[in-house]
Symmetry: C3
Subunit: 159 residues, 3 copies
């Protein structure tokens, strides 16, 4: 057992993998934060989608009026879905990239730019900032993930 | 080649990694089950979203009336999206956690509670159970993932 | 450091893992392509969802009319969500499967059929092809992922 543990410790001691683990955890936690922001807006705007969520407001029409669509809630939900569409590929391709033996400095550059871009994207979406703020921050994160995928395919390509 | 195979076998023989692989496969299969439940409700409620899916009901208005929104279908779809928002971070952060060398018993506790909470969450959403059933099962799964992320960051932190 | 690099290189040199990395990168890039197709349809159909995205069309009603739902945009978005629901489980379960030491030929068969099925699924959704084109391509990808999960659980099962 101790030999196996040592092995697993070695992967996590690899500098690139440690950086990957740090940034992947941060962007996944950032994505999870969108659930809390959605819940906050649903409660403060009193805008729910499931009838059982409005039961505490009473029965019948007094509760039904809270089953409604609120623009702030929908905005957070769109930001959350955009995170799923962009952070999930980063986490998957980033793992392959981290295991493909890149330079530590190059890898850190990819991880840092992506993470910064996605945090900016969230602020741009929620404030909201005028375009092209959100569009540019989205494009930067997208380009970083494509760059990592290109590097992975260049090293491992086996169809 | 045999040396490489042996190496890959070693990671999968690590007890924490085996537990991770088991629970990750189970919750991903549970998430995939939502597709089948959606399909079941779409067919039994005759509620479709793509015109080509109603072609077997005839042409024109006789088919168009099945292009409609059904509350049961929408409920399953919300449960599916909630799975994506919560199971994906568990799978990503859980992998990093499993590779960070935790105690087997602590890791099993995290994986078991998360898996149980998400199965409860699905029942709470689909039956549906009165609140706070769904809310609590969601919060438990969320807290487990945050706890794993905290343990990962404590061990690997490298910005 | 060089020992760690060598280790990480060894995993990426494993033939099954190289095949996994190639196909996982391809299907994730394919999923990311849906964002570009959505953007293309939003711009050409002039159908946006965020008020700040229509600011370049002027103020007031002249811009508001472009905040609308377009069937082509919605179709791409459904295809994108379907990718998330199916490609994410493939990437997660596929990683565990690649690490569980399968035969190279069996693994390649799984990865190739899944990737082909999802590319077909995208064409079937966007053209759109008459059913059961989209349904069958979806089912084939689903079955491949279930088969990989079965093989993983058979090898690692530890509850």
């Amino acid at each position: 057992r101790s030999g196996k543990m040592a092995k697993s410790t070695q992967l996590i001691d690899n500098e690139v993998f440690r950086a990957y683990a740090t940034y992947a955890a941060i962007v996944l936690l950032k994505m999870m934060l969108m659930s809390l922001i959605t819940a906050y807006y649903r409660v403060t705007r009193k805008a729910f989608v499931n009838p059982e969520d409005t039961a505490s407001f009473g029965k019948g029409d007094s509760a039904k009026k809270y089953l409604r669509i609120d623009p702030d809630v929908e905005r957070v939900r769109r930001g959350h879905l955009n995170d799923l569409e962009n952070i999930v590929p980063f986490v998957g391709i980033g793992l392959l990239y981290a295991l493909s033996g890149p330079e530590v400095s190059t890898a850190l550059l990819h991880f840092r730019i992506f993470t910064g871009a996605r945090i900016l994207h969230t602020f741009a979406y929620l404030i909201p900032l005028p375009q092209p703020g959100r569009g540019l921050s989205w494009a930067v994160g997208y380009a970083v993930t494509v760059s990592m995928a290109y590097n992975v395919l260049k090293k491992v390509f086996l169809l």
